[in-house]
């Protein structure tokens, strides 16, 4: 593969081409899904090769990609990418400026504790089958599922500046959930929430304590059927890790993707309320809020030694002591904003065009345990496990519903509430943050399903979070 990618790049040396890069990925995927105790789907896609060729000609990108790596096909792809750039340059007013970058060479290979592709398959299916059997419909549980998606990707990257990387990793997405029904209503509970993926192999099922939490989700889903709803207009809320990751993702992560500032995502994912003059001045959150993008941490799915346009992995502070100080950028956009590139250009597969994407997007830990934080809360709710999420075109107005809320009175959890829903405006919300738990509660919560771009790409990425408290939040949505 190294020879193939280097020989492909060699065909892109032309005075007309100011920059070019080539990526090749080889991806294995396997999915196992039990529904209502029965194996509903076991599928795989192994050895899936892809190639993508990106060229910059007259200040315009041209791209072509395919799953066919036959040499004759690659020659056609090169011609197609060049033709696309030339044609595109006919409809361009401000040619892309792309300052040169020093070449980097990198190699990284992640090895999981339990390789999901080579482990004993009967053991794998049996483990999931037992979980499925434990939570299969009974009592008020009418639907249940357990599953795992396993991915291994090997990637080669090369560009005309001399940068080259060869990496490989394993990611796993374990899921488990139940639906309870009674008198025409349904309630659901999942474990460990919707951001359950990790840079790991099959060991993730053990680390996330799936077996230990089957009884809990059955009981909570059932109890939610008869639980009250929140009746207050406003309340203090503590958001648990199973949901805070998504709050961070939607209202800070996407909002600080700088391609949105320039309208590159208007047609699908949207814009952002963030504008260039806000950098260094805008009070995005309270003083305890520190948020960063960190592609140098190998514990998260967003780790890479080089991004998909040759920028070395980087930890970039985005919000420092509540002030917006940086953005997630590409090389082109960083140049327009007079910033250093943040190493956030990523494509899902080699035949996808790279976009500004979150990598490991994190909130720095504060102090204390979740138990301490609950004990210090007179009246409020601990909300966890995402159920519904929605945020506007400018990433300014969000509304979330979690699967469950735990009522806190005088520092103690005294009951549960169903469908707790809160909404707010991004700046007001992050400025109301008065406590963030410490290192002992901090962890990565990851997803396989962040959608962006057209043609659409789903990115695998991580959020490092610790439970945090937000004061006087609107928890009343009248329907």
């Amino acid at each position: 593969m190294e020879h193939l990618i280097k020989s492909t790049l060699a065909k892109l040396s032309s005075p007309e081409i100011t920059f070019a890069d080539v990526r090749i990925t080889k991806t294995d995927n396997e999915g196992i899904y039990f529904q209502n105790g029965n194996l509903r789907d076991y599928s795989s896609a192994m050895d899936s090769l892809a190639i993508g060729i990106r060229v910059l000609i007259k200040g315009c990108w041209g791209f072509s990609g395919s799953r066919d790596l036959d040499p004759a096909k690659i020659d056609r792809l090169i011609q197609q990418a060049i033709a696309n750039a030339r044609s595109g340059a006919q409809f361009i007013r401000n040619p892309i400026e792309f300052p040169a970058l020093k070449a980097s060479v990198a190699e990284y290979h992640h090895i999981p504790e339990i390789n999901p592709f080579t482990m004993n398959k009967e053991e794998k299916v049996s483990f999931l089958g037992k979980l499925a059997d434990t939570i299969k419909p009974q009592g008020k549980i009418v639907h249940s599922y357990v599953g795992g998606q396993f991915m291994r990707q090997e990637k080669y990257y090369i560009n005309t500046e001399g940068s080259y990387s060869h990496t490989s990793y394993y990611n796993t997405l374990p899921i488990m959930g139940v639906i309870a029904a009674d008198s025409g209503q349904i309630q659901s509970r999942t474990w460990p929430g919707h951001m359950s993926a990790g840079r790991a192999g099959f060991e993730l099922f053990y680390k996330q304590q799936f077996e230990e939490n089957t009884d809990r989700i059955i009981k909570e889903a059932t109890d939610l059927l008869s639980a009250p709803v929140i009746t207050e207009e406003r309340a203090d809320i503590i958001i648990g890790n199973g949901h805070l990751a998504l709050q961070l993702h939607e209202s800070v992560g996407h909002a600080t993707e700088a391609d949105r500032i320039f309208g590159m995502e208007i047609s699908y994912a949207g814009k952002t309320f963030v504008k260039p003059p806000m950098l260094g001045d805008y009070q995005y959150g309270s003083e305890i809020v520190n948020i960063y993008s960190d592609s140098t941490d190998p514990r998260g799915l967003g780790y890479h030694p080089l991004d998909d346009e040759g920028v070395p992995g980087k930890r970039a502070e985005i919000i420092r002591n509540g002030i917006l100080v940086d953005q997630q950028t590409s090389r082109h956009i960083a140049h327009m904003l007079d910033l250093e590139p943040s190493s956030n250009m990523k494509a899902s597969f080699a035949d996808d065009f790279p976009l500004v994407r979150m990598t490991n997007f994190c909130i720095a830990p504060g102090k204390g345990s979740l138990a301490d934080l609950i004990a210090e809360t007179d009246h409020g709710y601990l909300l966890d496990f995402t159920k519904t999420w929605s945020i506007d075109d400018n990433r300014n107005n969000f509304q979330f519903t979690t699967e469950i809320g735990y009522k806190i009175e005088n520092g103690k959890i005294t009951g549960i509430v169903k469908e707790p829903t809160y909404f707010g405006i991004t700046k007001d919300f992050w400025n109301s943050c008065d406590r963030i738990c410490g290192e002992e509660e901090w962890g990565y919560h990851s997803t396989f399903h962040c959608g962006k771009g057209e043609p659409g790409q789903v990115m695998q990425l991580s959020h490092g979070v610790a439970p945090a408290r937000f004061k006087n939040i609107n928890v009343s949505v009248k329907m």
Binding site: R40, A45, G62, G88, F91, Q185, F353, Q399, G456, K478
Partner: protein, 442 residues
């Protein structure tokens, strides 16, 4: 038939105990994305993939092969045969699709070839120049896909069909205020595209966008929903009209067959034979895809139901997937509908909807790409984007008028696999639509 398919069938013939489904897909896209009235990037992509599902009794295993060759098939099939015996059975499994219906294949234009990049940029230049006169730049996508399908299964199905969707989405954004308006074209027949009508439609909205920007308070409003909006609400609602949702106990329509669920002017049909839409001869299992009335004069008539859930739920199998939804038009002009509103809202497009409780059809979402205030029967001001929290069934129950014409509304599917689908809908007038907050932004 391609060599690798013959090779695969030959291998499978040595295993008479197995049932199988082979689905071959050839997919291409030619994708122009533009911003600030210029190219962002041009993408060409293609893939040929085989998806093979094997069944041995009630055990099953599926595998996917990109860029298939005989060598890749040998390796993947050997793995599958070694694995399938050790898998547990799915007691709910009965049999694979057996619909013998062969429809006359609709030949589709190859829009990737017929609409080259140079033609796309010529069209966009005309639109960009028109918008520029009002201080607007254009942003969006101009996409042509080409998809060819071949499905073979051991119950004797051997069917081919093709799809060639086009999706032009133009958002005009004001250079200073960032006020955004939207115009789209979708379908498979580009001869239906009228550049002047398209540009005129966009310019009409741009003129509305020149008005003062105001905010509105949360509350219940009479609203005109543009065809895109009501089509999207009905797409979400169609989730509950599926046998899959019924099986999961998440369907609002559970126990409501033949019940009057909406006003009599509401009729919704899944119609893959309407040439205005992006159509398909068969569903993904190879069942003939035929028109199915879901709501007839307000009465719920049928669940969409594929092979598996027909066996599981006992519902009649129809093979429909709600991919070609049509909401019947009414008898009012848009001006008459506007004229009946003293104070209300015109909503052009929706954003980021998500169910709160699918069984209740409650969801939240936002307006986008042009929300306008209606005063005394006329559009008078621009309104910041708004959040709504509503039950879709209430929206349909509160429809009091439908426009006397429908338009095709394209949607791109951007999760898992890039696809383009379409619906057809008129403007509708909805009373008491629940706005729950303002975004304070355009």
């Amino acid at each position: 038939m391609k060599h690798y398919l013959n090779h695969l069938l030959s291998l499978l013939s040595q295993h008479p105990e197995m049932k199988y489904v082979i689905s071959e897909k050839l997919w291409q896209t030619d994708f122009l994305r533009f911003y600030h009235s210029q190219t962002n990037y041009n993408i060409s992509k293609d893939n040929t993939a085989l998806e093979i599902s094997l069944y041995k009794g009630k055990k099953s295993y599926s595998f996917n092969i990109d860029d298939p060759t005989a060598g890749k098939i040998d390796k993947a099939l050997a793995n599958a045969l070694a694995l399938i015996d050790m898998l547990p059975e799915d007691p709910d499994f009965v049999d694979i699709e057996n619909d013998p219906t062969v429809v006359t294949q609709r030949r589709k234009a190859n829009n990737i070839k017929d609409i080259p990049l140079s033609r796309k940029t010529d069209i966009l230049t005309v639109i960009a120049d028109s918008a520029a006169k009002f201080g607007f730049d254009i942003f969006g996508t101009f996409i042509c896909n080409r998809e060819e399908y071949h499905l073979i299964n051991s119950n004797g199905l051997d069917k081919t069909w093709e799809v060639s969707p086009i999706y032009l989405e133009v958002k005009a954004v004001h250079n200073v205020s960032q006020i955004t308006v939207l115009e789209t074209f979708g379908g498979e027949d580009f001869s239906r595209f009228d550049l002047k009508a398209f540009t005129d439609g966009l310019l009409t909205k741009i003129r509305y966008a020149g008005n003062e920007v105001v905010d509105v308070e949360a509350g219940h409003y009479d609203v005109i929903l543009a065809p895109r909006c009501i089509a999207e609400f009905v797409q979400y609602l169609s989730h509950g009209m599926s046998a899959h949702a019924l099986d999961q106990h998440s369907s609002y329509f559970d126990g409501k067959i033949a019940e009057q669920v909406f006003p009599a002017q509401i009729t919704i049909v899944d119609d893959p034979e309407d040439a205005d839409l992006i159509t398909s001869d068969y569903n993904h299992e190879g069942h003939a895809y035929k028109p199915l009335t879901l709501i007839d004069k307000g009465v719920f008539k049928a669940f969409t139901c594929g092979n598996y859930y027909a066996h599981k739920t006992g519902l009649p199998k129809n093979g429909n997937t709600a991919s070609c939804l049509k909401i019947a038009s009414g008898d009012k002009t848009l001006d008459e509908m506007l004229g009946s509103i003293e104070k209300g809202l015109y909503i052009s497009s929706l954003h980021y909807m998500n169910f709160i409780n699918p069984r209740e059809t409650s969801l939240t979402g936002l307006t986008r790409d042009g929300t306008f205030l209606i005063e005394n029967g006329k559009i008078t001001k621009v309104v910041n984007n708004l959040r709504f929290t509503e039950r879709i069934v209430n929206i349909l129950k509160n429809i009091t008028a439908l426009e006397n014409k429908s338009v095709t509304v394209p949607f791109s599917g951007n999760y898992e696999f890039f696809s383009i689908e379409s619906s057809k809908a008129p403007h509708v007038l909805v009373r008491e639509f629940n706005i729950t907050s303002s975004t304070k932004t355009i």
